[in-house]
């Protein structure tokens, strides 16, 4: 069983993010960067599948500048077997991300690709679906539970959908995206951290993978959300209804 897991480097969600003065991005000084939390869940799921099967390989792929090797190493320290770094100067948009991942998936031929349902930096939530479509593979997004058939031919995935859970069966290979409740990721143990140092990591440029990047999105400006205004206390239910109807216009 070969499991390909994607990880993206994102600002630590526990820290306060500030937009830079030029409005071109966030202030990165003093920021800590971590594996996108949904990707960490994806790594954990990959490791659990391998452990349950008693065999297999968990391969980590990350796209971005050389600093993303830190996040690959973090996933290797959790227990993944090897890493692939796709070396690009900046983080591509979802479509180009999917293109690069398609090339990696074709090269690696995994039984399953597990991704986070979205990255918490830009929150697009598109790369997984695009990748599945480009590969012509089945997809199961927002996974809550994943079970792999004994012969690795199928997966049964319970998905988080509006208003409940939905269970589907998909043919493998497939793309699965992890939702919050899929599992609780383990932390890297110290022996794991030491072992990760010697695990292999390959570096490819897009050209090595036969991909030419052609951005389809342009970041025009980034700004902070307006500060939240203080609440008010309404006296009566009628007043509440009136405000919801006429001021907030939500009912």
């Amino acid at each position: 069983m070969k499991i390909l897991v994607t990880v993206k480097r994102v600002p630590d969600p526990d820290m306060k993010v500030r937009v830079n003065a030029e409005g071109t991005g966030i202030v990165e000084d003093n920021m800590k960067f971590v594996i996108n939390p949904f990707d960490e869940i994806a790594v954990e799921e990959g490791l659990r599948i391998k452990e349950k099967k008693g065999e297999g390989e968990v391969v980590i792929v990350a796209i971005g500048p050389s600093v993303v090797q830190e996040q690959i190493r973090a996933a290797l320290a959790m227990g993944a077997d090897r890493g692939i770094h796709v070396d690009v100067d900046s983080y591509p948009d979802p479509l180009n991300t999917a293109k690069l991942l398609k090339a990696v998936a074709e090269k690696e031929a995994p039984n399953i690709v597990i991704m986070g349902k979205q990255a918490v930096d830009d929150d697009y939530g598109q790369a997984g679906q695009m990748l599945a479509a480009m590969l012509g593979w089945a997809q199961a997004t927002f996974a809550y539970k994943v079970e792999i058939a004994d012969d690795n031919s199928k997966a049964t995935v319970t998905r988080e959908v509006d208003g409940g859970l939905e269970t589907i069966e998909i043919d493998l290979p497939a793309v699965v995206t992890a939702d919050l409740r899929l599992n609780e990721p383990r932390y890297a143990s110290l022996p794991g951290i030491m072992k990760a140092k010697t695990k292999p990591m390959d570096v490819f440029k897009p050209a090595d993978l036969g991909v030419e990047l052609s951005p389809v999105l342009e970041l025009v400006r980034m700004e902070e959300p307006p500060p939240r205004k203080g609440g008010i206390i309404v006296e009566t239910v009628d007043e509440l209804l009136d405000k919801l109807r006429n001021e907030a216009k939500v009912i």
Binding site: S189, L190, I193
Partner: protein, 398 residues
Amino acid sequence: MALDFELSEEQKLLKKTARDVIKQFEPKRDELREKVMKRKEFPQEVWDALAQAGFFGSFLPPEYGGTGMGLLAMAFAVEEMSALGFGNALIILTTMDALCILKNGTEELKKRFLPKIADGTYKFCFAVTEADAGTNTCRIKTRAEKKNGYYVINGSKTFITGADVADYMLLVTRTISYKEVVEKGLPKAYGLSLFIVDTKSKGITLHALPTRGIEGMNQFTVFFDNVEVPAENLVGDENAGSMALFKALNPERILAAASAVGLSEYCLNIAVNYAQERKVFRDTPIGQYQAIQHPLAEVKIHQEAVRLLTYKAAWAYDKELPPVEVGAYTNMAKYLGAELAIMAVDKAIETLGGNGFSEDYGLAHLWEVVRLLRTAPISKEMILNYISEHVLGLPRSY
């Protein structure tokens, strides 16, 4: 051009693991605080989680079940724990004792004890202080006398933290009395011997002391009445324990400094968040006033200075630099760490006003914790004595 302040990938990961391990207890923080602070029960679950992640092996070499990442690794872990408001003195004591065994113990002792420290099975306390011999260790009276493959121990120790929960104790004794050493004109520190003693040995009794300052742990007077300790539990050479002892004290001070750095971060987080929310006059958060900002900025400046000094001390220890150099950085870090922690709690309380004294805001109880740091494990005065004498080369004052 080898000066490099960048943390390695492993060090960054290690810090993250320390945070992740402790953060899993965040939802149970109130419950844990109740258990540790009010009921004075040992937080075994936190200990186990740290052990499982490999922290007790971080500073031990692989042949004894560790990962060989050095004392610096443990300093990172202690800093991160403290920054999240979790302190545990037994971690510091067990680390110092383990390193003492590693550097001075026989191969047999190392094989017997270190792997079980690395995997979290054994907890250690440390006993040097006596009622009539505090700062002046040479004057201790607890005696160890050799008899048929055993050392028989008589005497008492006081202020011994965690003697009730620890499995073993690293005990400092005299195998030649102070009187005899003085009479014979031997060096005053001669005749000290270190032992690993099972805390459940026959002849040991504990009396809890009404002391404060270490979160959730009691101090004890420990009485030794003909306690038999196997001769092979001697750490280092008989009578020559002083060098092993003085070197062993360094890790304790380095980790105390690391906990001070973390504690100051914990206080700053509480104070900064509060200052941003609290409005007293008009719609201005108090954090906008310089009177509130500047003290917190000062704490941050001191914090970075102590952090650098602490890492440097741990680095010097791991590199086995000459003892006076290790001692200098270590004592400096411990000195400034205590001052930093006191300042951080003080300024955070100032920011919170009355709420600084409310148990709900997690600051008031720290006052005793940080003040203790100025006195123990070594007092501010004795550090200044050390720097004056050993670094500045001034005549010994006492």
